[in-house]
Amino acid sequence: MLELFTYDFMQRSLLAAAIVGALCSLIGVFVVLRGLAFVGAGTSHAAFAGVTLGYLVGWPPLPLAIAFGVATVWITGWLEEQGRMKLDVSIGILYTATMALAIMFIGFMRTYNPEVYGYLFGSVLSVTGEELFLIGGLAVLELSLLALFWKELLFIAFDQEMAEASGIPARSIFFLLLTLIALTVVVALKTVGAILVFAMVLIPASTAYQLTHSLTTLTLYSVLIGTATAVTGVIVSTVWDIPSGPSIVLLAIAVFFFSLLISPKRMKHPLGSSRP
């Protein structure tokens, strides 16, 4: 089995999974705390529409995926800010609209294109050196933005109005968060696919949420769980010859249900949270 790790494709896959796992679980902390789960799910489908358009017109798919993803979250955020529509309603509409576009673009393609389906279902084992470079670049950009605006992102997740009242440019930070969610989804698209990508964002942070009452610890646990399940999922998928996306996601879900069983929040005398 150790021989597996000597193959170039395996090394690329593991590195891609580790980057994507860490990044998704990091942004997932804000998604879970700010209650933006559906936004992320919708964004992944919008990004997939961008990919299909790219293949249809012969343009690079990832920039178009970014454009579709970012446009979707910005329109959603703008509609909510204007008070015209609740976030889950507008993302629901855009989610189905972009998915309809994706299906239409696939219909316009004259030949069957397996790479498109790779973005739908995930194929981390086929990540190329170029794609890995792009994933790494986007990850560095995102990590830099997260590091720069960490305290502001945490504050708007706690209470956006209180953050704004305290002098944080909360509206701009909220749009930054939406943009980061869209970028994360695009980075992870190739690894687990449009259908399952959001599980990688949502599940590690939700698992960590069961285990701690501290924001710092929650973030740390989320990244550890996200990276570990992504890497282990790739190994499991290679050894047992099963699709990589579902392998990562099902493993993460198993860890989530285990966390429910051992969660101190569900015990009679929660650790570190006893009522004084």
């Binding site: 720069l148 305290k151 209470d159 009452h213 949270s273 004084p276």
Partner: protein, 271 residues
């Protein structure tokens, strides 16, 4: 020095919040009309009125979250539309109970540290000085021994104390409290109000306190502001809490007890 002398001294302090014929509202709805009011540094102001009278709108305006439709609102001698982040950081805010998710996974210390974020500004990380200020703020509300405890595991009164500490960590000039005693039992209501009064005196803070409970704050505040869409009255409690004035605002819901306590029903939609 008597409380009246105290109050007179405060009204000679500079004006830090000035409403000048200001109207506030949302598309198609006027929530507050023609408000003219000056608040001096160091004053303790109680803002009262029935539900829907515009108390929270006034609060949002002072926070710089709502610009006037007409007229002017100046905060720290700056038009509220031009209020910069560092101005906002000078107003410590305690939102209504229930606005904050009490189950948010955050410790007491992490909550109070958030008070430093606005004051620090963008791109600056909290340092040892900020941690010291946060711990001092916790000490001011006597909650320092709970620093590593989950916020959600505290009682309602303790959570209010922590959120007041978060506001104090901003090192504000103004403390704005939106119904800080709602949902607390009676001893805890007095406990929180005593704390606010103590902070007002020791830190020389300007306090704006929105409440429904007239009797609990009447002896603590310098002035009362009585709202019902417009400013019905403002001044020392004895001048505002008169039956003829209160009846205009609370209508049939008003009862004066023999001990001069005021009880009001919720008749905010009645004429």
């Amino acid at each position: 020095m008597t409380s009246q002398q105290d109050s007179q001294e405060r009204t000679s302090c500079p004006v830090i919040i000035r409403f000048d014929h200001a109207w506030f509202g949302f598309p198609g709805v006027v929530a507050l009309e023609d408000i003219s009011l000056s608040i001096h540094a160091g004053e303790f102001i109680g803002i009262i009125g029935p539900n829907g009278s515009g108390k929270t709108t006034l609060c949002r305006a002072v926070l710089g979250l709502l610009a006037p439709l007409k007229g002017q609102l100046r905060i720290f001698d700056c038009a509220c539309e031009e209020l910069r982040c560092h101005h906002r950081a000078q107003i410590g805010y305690l939102p209504q109970k229930g606005v904050v998710d009490r189950d948010f996974p955050v410790t007491v210390f992490e909550t109070v540290m958030m008070g430093r974020y606005g004051a620090l500004g963008l791109f600056r990380r909290p340092g040892p000085q900020d941690r010291r200020i946060a711990l001092e703020s916790l000490a001011l509300v006597a909650m320092e021994r709970y620093r590593d405890v989950a916020l959600g595991s505290l009682s309602g009164g303790q959570q209010q104390r922590v959120l007041i500490a978060r506001a104090l960590a901003q090192q504000p000039k103004v403390l704005l409290l939106d119904e800080p005693t709602t949902g607390l039992d009676l001893p805890m209501q007095y406990n929180v109000l005593d704390l606010i009064q103590h902070l007002h005196k020791t830190l020389r803070l300007t306090v704006l306190l929105i409440t429904h409970d007239i009797n609990m704050i009447r002896s603590r505040v310098d002035r009362l502001v009585l709202l019902k869409t417009r400013l019905y009255a403002h001044g020392p409690p004895a001048d505002v809490l008169k039956p003829d004035i209160l009846e205009q605002v609370y209508g049939r819901g008003l009862i004066f007890s023999d001990s001069n306590l005021v009880f009001v029903g919720d008749y905010h939609h009645s004429p």
